[in-house]
């Protein structure tokens, strides 16, 4: 959080900006790392804003460590700074699943690799859900395939929460399904492969699958009340 590189002042080299946070490249005691800064929303009251941001930061750190304890591969957390509103993680060398699938779409599918990735996704989500954790933002840009080991790494637990409700798990899967349909339909039915792996690894898949069918019918965030 202190090595100065070209670009932004203290935090490092800015590599991405999202709706909630900025991502910088930096180094932590000699190791390449990512610094994620949750920026303050100026329209909020300053005291509330600070409290909310720190709360979200801590929730993200907690969910990541919980995911690790459940056996889901996530980047190693190097530090949490409540004053600067930053999280420092290990830098994962590799490509986002989104980029890999887009490449498959344009240059042809490598069947074996696709199957392997889909299976790993299914297994990872199953472990999360069985452990009562919902990722909240399952898209292919939040999954990285590690260079060399080809291990799938889940990132961005900023929207995750604990829940054992089949509804929440089904919505989690539904978000992924929609994302795949909109971006990667040229890769074939990846979702089916993911769900197959999910069913095999999860102990509570049937309730979730039933709910998923319901959610597909009506769309999400519709509790059909009132």
């Amino acid at each position: 959080m202190d090595t100065c590189q070209t670009g932004q002042a203290e935090l490092g080299l800015l590599i991405k900006q999202g709706a909630e946070a900025r991502v910088y490249l930096s180094s932590f005691v000699g190791r390449k790392c990512i610094v994620k800064e949750r920026f303050s929303k100026k329209y909020r009251h300053p005291i509330l804003d600070s409290k909310l941001t720190v709360k979200r930061l801590n929730a993200e750190a907690r969910c990541m460590t919980k995911a690790r304890k459940l056996g889901v591969v996530t980047p190693v957390l190097y530090g949490v700074d409540p004053v600067l509103h930053t999280l420092t993680f290990e830098f994962i060398e590799g490509h986002a699943v989104k980029d890999i699938l887009l490449e498959f779409g344009s240059n042809g599918i490598v069947e074996e690799r696709l199957n392997d990735i889909a299976a790993q996704i299914g297994i990872a989500i199953a472990k999360l859900h069985d452990g009562g954790l919902v990722h909240g933002d399952l898209t292919t840009s939040n999954m990285i395939v590690k260079e060399g080991t080809n291990q799938l790494v889940l990132i961005d637990f900023g929207l995750s929460f604990t829940s054992t409700l089949p509804e929440d798990k089904a919505v989690d899967l539904y978000v992924l399904e929609r994302a795949l349909l909109s971006m990667h339909s040229s890769c074939g039915d990846v979702m089916e492969k993911i769900l197959a792996a999910y069913r095999k690894s999860s102990k509570q898949w049937s309730a979730t699958m039933n709910k998923l069918a319901q959610v597909r019918q009506r769309g999400r965030k519709r509790t059909m009340v009132g």
């Binding site: 959080m1 202190d2 090595t3 100065c4 932590f28 005691v29 000699g30 190791r31 930061l57 801590n58 750190a61 907690r62 990541m64 460590t65 690790r68 304890k69 459940l70 056996g71 889901v72 591969v73 190693v76 957390l77 190097y78 530090g79 949490v80 700074d81 409540p82 004053v83 420092t88 290990e90 472990k127």
Partner: protein
């Protein structure tokens, strides 16, 4: 002895000792705050790799720069951070040294060569290479102290698991 750059302008020197015979004396010196030069002494069997110690050191430095140390000194803060627990005295007891301890990791911030030499003289033991950290670490003790489940071990090294806990302690 090895030196690391923990943050802009701060160095961190580390030395590993085995067959230490005067741990009781060292403990007394520390508790009466008469240790010269000030050094942090860690139970080396709980250290599989130097990286988590560096993470704890970084955290301690940041706290110090903000005048928000939880313990009395920078060095005791490091031991407290390494334990990844919010219980201060328990952490210092478990991760610091005890009476009969013979395997110790000594660390000091911004140490000059002279200071490190006096640390080496202060400790009655044999200085060994940091490469010995891994084979000499007590795996079972580490798994127990940091509560690392087998699922996590399957996807992570001990060093990474400990580092995560050190980083997230205050968020939990």
């Amino acid at each position: 002895m090895k030196s690391f750059h923990v943050s802009a302008g701060s160095t961190f020197s580390v030395a590993l000792f085995s067959d230490v015979t005067n741990s009781r004396e060292l403990l007394e010196l520390m508790q009466s705050a008469k240790m010269e030069p000030e050094v942090a002494l860690l139970n080396a069997s709980l250290v599989p790799d130097i990286f988590p110690v560096l993470a704890a050191a970084h955290k301690a430095l940041v706290s110090k720069s903000r005048e928000s140390l939880t313990t009395r000194t920078l060095h005791s803060e490091l031991v407290y951070n390494y334990a990844a627990s919010k219980h201060i005295s328990e952490s210092l007891k478990r991760c610091g040294i005890s009476d009969q301890m013979s395997y110790i990791l000594a660390v000091r911030f911004n140490a000059s060569d002279d200071e490190m030499t006096s640390v080496t003289n202060l400790i009655n033991g044999k200085e060994i290479d940091l490469e010995e950290l891994e084979p000499r670490s007590n795996r079972d003790q580490i798994l127990k102290h940091f509560k690392i489940p087998p699922q996590e071990l399957a996807i992570s090294s001990l060093s990474d698991a400990i580092t995560c806990r050190i980083a997230a302690r205050d968020a939990l």
